[in-house]
Symmetry: C2
Subunit: 146 residues, 2 copies
DNA sequence: GGATAAAGGTCAATATAGTTTACCTAACGA
DNA sequence: TCGTTAGGTAAACTATATTGACCTTTATCC
């Protein structure tokens, strides 16, 4: 059985992964900078948007940051009225996070940039290559750390 | 003409891109931490390894950081004997960077972690999906910023 | 009921990583 | 010689993240 994957392919993959991710985050970063927000704010908006009523602890786990690193940015978003909090009815220790309409608006603005970028590439490549890409991306954390 | 790419696909792509990249960088980060080095050192080692005799300015461009942000980490690597410098013979202002044997060793150690991770996924997926993945990654910076 | 644990919040100290601004030398080239 | 380029440094600043310690409120377990 021969190796179907060449070292040169793997080297190029490493490089393109770096360049692609850098480009992928650059768009939202620019919008965020105008509001003096950073990537953590973006991630909060994204994951709260995708998981309404998520608890602070759950958010902590998915973002893999310390409580203190989350708390500052989260408070900013709550203070600016982009994220709403409500007590859980079953367990009143738990704070449930949701996006406000304005928070949803910003989240969509940021997400749209990345969606457009990916859509431009996926549309040209076709549906099947997109599926391959997505399958591979899903597997990467499963064979590595985190 | 219908949209072949669904919004839900794009949303998942955004998310998997984030998780995959985080996992992808976590392995080398751990090794680097033991030596008190960071990602900039890694990028320097990687690009100098791939482009021997690269100039400081060229490295600056490819990494897209300020001269000051590069200078510290680069000096550390030179002081530790991981990167060698030599004057260009045609233009003695230009400093050419290459990896020392020990620098090459560390670069290979770091790169191997990421190569193994990608190889595990690519081998299972097959050569054609890998090509799709790589083609898409190559295109992402071409339709976006940077 | 009382101990313990869990969810969340906050402060302080620290580390790192990056920025901009500014100024320096050495070498090239017209 | 003069302007430009390659490279090096320093200061002040910003941000992002860490760990450790300590606090309240609420739930749960015995």
């Amino acid at each position: 059985m021969v190796d179907i994957i060449k070292n040169e392919d793997l080297m190029e993959a490493i490089e393109q992964f770096y360049f692609a991710y850098r480009s992928f985050t650059a768009g939202p970063d620019r919008v965020l900078q105008e509001r003096s927000l950073g990537r953590v704010h973006h991630r909060i908006l994204y994951f709260v948007g995708r998981n309404p009523h998520i608890s602070v602890n759950a958010l902590l786990s998915v973002l893999a940051v310390s409580k203190q690193a989350l708390n500052g940015p989260l408070r900013v978003l709550v203070d600016q009225g982009l994220v709403n909090t409500e007590m859980s009815t079953e367990d009143r220790r738990i704070k449930q996070l949701t996006l406000s309409p304005e928070g949803r608006k910003l989240e969509r603005q940021l997400t749209r940039i990345q969606m457009q970028q990916l859509d431009a590439v996926f549309s040209r490549a076709g549906r099947k290559p997109m599926q391959c890409w997505l399958d591979i991306m899903r597997e990467i954390p499963r064979v590595g750390p985190l």
